[in-house]
Symmetry: C2
Subunit: 471 residues, 2 copies
């Protein structure tokens, strides 16, 4: 039987020494590939050591790929060159998780009217590259200095100035909390406001919001909306504490909450210290027409509005930077309860974005993108008007953001309509899909998100909808 | 009284039209700064419109800084040039939140032995800059394509290969979930495993871990450790479902869990389907001496270990990229419940890091840093040995990571010792601070984290400790 002397063991633990001896013999070919090793018990007895020592040595050899074990057979020397290890890796049984989770969920559609992907061609690559290059040369100390929980001061200042200029909001930098996406900020808010509260979300609405509340196992209601947004009477009846809304551009209907309803909501919130409004202003930069209505945050005198916005819509969906503006009365609580968290956005991107905003690039970018999307919308609408499809459709809410609604005169069910479009290579979603309980009048309404649709495919896409779903 | 005609109103809502008329008069100086506007009620009566319409117009003018209101006095024309708006911003009452939250928590100490900030001078700026530059030129499509929830495939593959080479772990890319820091990953795990579970953390331990569980309002126990780590008997008695440990380098004691205890822990976990082990391997790259012990993940045959590691220690504390390796049986649950979340790390940094690892830079960086920290530790220990302080101290656990423990022969309380050091400009923490219930033998033990301490300050720092705390 294999045997080793323990006279030269030095300061190693026993199992470690044994591990090294066997590993050495394997690497030198003294123990050839496939060779069976002694059983733990007999080996231990032979060497005059405990079984657990042999077990530990074998375990380390297995974990490093030098040995493999076959249940009830024993331990064998593995083929331990790199290729063998890779092969071993490959024969792990397949996991049947959708392919989606490993590669980017790249659309295989000819045109995807449901995608919220930002347009590829308009990201300001050269300016971004220049700003990063400068930072990596000149701001090394700042880049590597741990930021406060809410984010670096230059970015918070830049955002405060942006909010003043574009939304008329008077906000102090310390009210602004930077986070890696709005989804992350929602989870911070649950921790801030309490998971014993009742959260109310819009029906219809952006599915992810209710998914996030439910994933945190907090109580979450759906609240029906009318033409002006969430109805106060429904809110009063629902025991909601925190209402989560997008008043400047409701998703997916595109409706804008008039100022009267905004005041009513603020009135509702001021009736109890537990009540708050989360104002999600996600694509307000891209309003196509009309005077912007003041944000709820800016007309809120009782500290009841938490304003949230993101750069994922206005810059790139793959850069994860969002922020929230906390009312001043909540700041102490936030810093006491949650300031121990590290900021989730890398300093490198925080500084790049801060410079991008403060040097005026963001303003120019938004203006360029607004014109770009405006033009895209006009081309699509003109294309639709020229198509035989036009007789069967009515367009609404085309001024508010990056999508509009298309009402279709059809006897097809929504599922059937979307399925037929899909067979034509067109991905389209129905308004009813965004409802928890779809009302009758939501039928035959479809979302047309044109933000990522190439202009040159629009005519073909409209033709295909007509061909597949109307005739 | 001020009056306007509504004959040219066009398609504007009434309040919007009124808002524009007043704004125009203010901008043209027809309404001078300080001018009092009519009360809402009388103005509405005069114009033949409803009070709410006037109220809405005034609200928008206030939010945009054209008007201001004084309670019980009325509405007045503001000085609406930019400086006035800035001034208005400045006179908002001060918020008394610690300065810490606005600026980086930059140490004002001469030397900070408690900081986990990564060393400034060693970040591979030029390689990082080169990789980003290449990406921004050549990989634009990938940079802007939404990644799957778990992160981009090239980074997950690069990490899988790294884990195989450095930790002997056989992991499929789909088991790896990328997130913006381990703190974020903990919150994902609470959602995955359930907030009805009992979580157990090490006492002493890294405070943030228990803070995060408590912030999510889940049940969290402290479990005492002995020389080998968490005690199984304590674990059995505590009703813990999920145990959160750092077996390769316990913080702050630096202890390494021997393989026998690792097997016992796996045995404990396999007794119930609700039990899991979170293995936090946060600084294993910087082990100074000795053979690494296999990770719990690599000897776990029952799918009970969730492995977590981070690049914040090995690369830069301000780049927020961490990952976890889920056991294969938990993958389906993860993708079903949580794949709706967007990945929290920007594509730009995911791709940069993926290239950094796969081109071999990460391995070189770790080796360089390990030598760098090794040297730093040696210089500090040599400095201590030459100092009169040496007679009063005993050093332990100096091989395991970026800090060691210093036992001091002193009659001072831990608080008094740290306070005296602080008066000398030396920030130092006591082991007892990391305990929920400090045992007697944790007294007079202090943490010496040398990772961010400049070599040239070490002698002076040791002298100051001697001067301030011993003599």
């Amino acid at each position: 039987m294999l045997t080793y002397s323990f006279t030269n063991i030095g300061s190693d633990p026993l199992y470690q020494y044994l591990y090294k001896c066997i590993k050495n013999d394997i690497l030198q070919g003294i123990l050839p590939v496939g060779e069976k090793l002694p059983s733990k018990r007999s080996f231990a007895k032979n060497l005059g050591i405990s079984t657990i020592t042999v077990e530990n040595a074998y375990a380390q050899l297995i974990s490093e790929g030098y040995l493999y074990s076959i249940p009830k057979k024993g331990f064998f020397v593995a083929d331990c060159n790199v290729h063998a290890v890779e092969k071993k890796n490959h024969v792990l049984p397949e996991i049947t998780v959708e392919n989606l989770h490993l590669t980017a969920p790249n659309s295989t559609y000819f045109v995807d009217f449901s995608s919220n992907q930002t347009d590829m061609e308009n990201f300001p690559f050269s300016i971004w590259a220049k700003l990063i290059r400068e930072l990596l040369h000149e701001n090394r100390l700042e880049l590597l200095t741990n930021p406060p929980s809410g984010g670096i001061l230059p970015l918070r200042k830049a955002i405060a100035n942006h909010l003043l200029a574009f939304r008329g909001m008077h906000v102090l930098p310390e009210q602004i909390i930077i986070g890696a996406g709005t989804e992350y900020l929602y989870s911070l808010l649950i921790q801030l406001l309490g998971n014993d509260k009742d959260y109310g979300v819009e029906d219809p609405g952006y599915k992810k919001i209710s998914q996030i509340y439910r994933s945190h196992e907090v109580s979450c209601h759906f609240l029906p909306i009318d033409n002006c947004g969430i109805q106060i009477s429904e809110l009063e009846n629902s025991h909601t504490d925190i209402v989560h809304i997008s008043p400047s551009h409701h998703f997916p209907t595109g409706r804008i909450m008039p100022i009267s309803r905004r005041y009513e909501l603020l009135g509702w919130a001021s009736k109890s210290p537990d009540r708050y409004i989360i104002e999600d202003d996600y694509d307000s930069e891209f309003r196509m027409a009309g005077q912007p209505i003041p944000t709820l945050q800016s007309i809120d005198m009782s500290g009841k509005v938490i304003y949230i916005n993101t750069f994922t819509k206005s810059l790139a969906s793959t850069i994860r930077i969002s922020y929230m503006v906390l009312p001043r009365d909540l700041l102490q609580t936030f810093y006491r309860k949650l300031a121990f968290y590290s900021c989730t956005v890398s300093n490198f991107e925080q500084f790049t974005l801060a410079h991008f905003i403060s040097q005026g690039h963001f303003e120019k970018h938004i203006n360029r993108m607004r014109n770009f999307y405006h033009h895209k919308r006009d081309v699509l609408l003109t294309t639709m008007k020229k198509s035989p499809l036009w007789k069967y459709i009515t367009i609404s809410e085309e001024d508010a953001g990056l999508h509009f609604l298309m009402k279709v005169d059809t006897s097809l069910s929504d599922e059937e309509f979307c399925l037929r479009a899909s067979k034509q290579g067109i991905h389209i979603t129905s308004l009813s899909q965004y409802y928890e309980t779809p009302p009758i009048d939501s039928q035959s309404m479809f979302l047309i998100n044109y933000s990522s649709v190439p202009e040159e495919r629009m005519k073909e896409a409209v033709d295909r909808i007509y061909k597949g779903c109307i005739t």
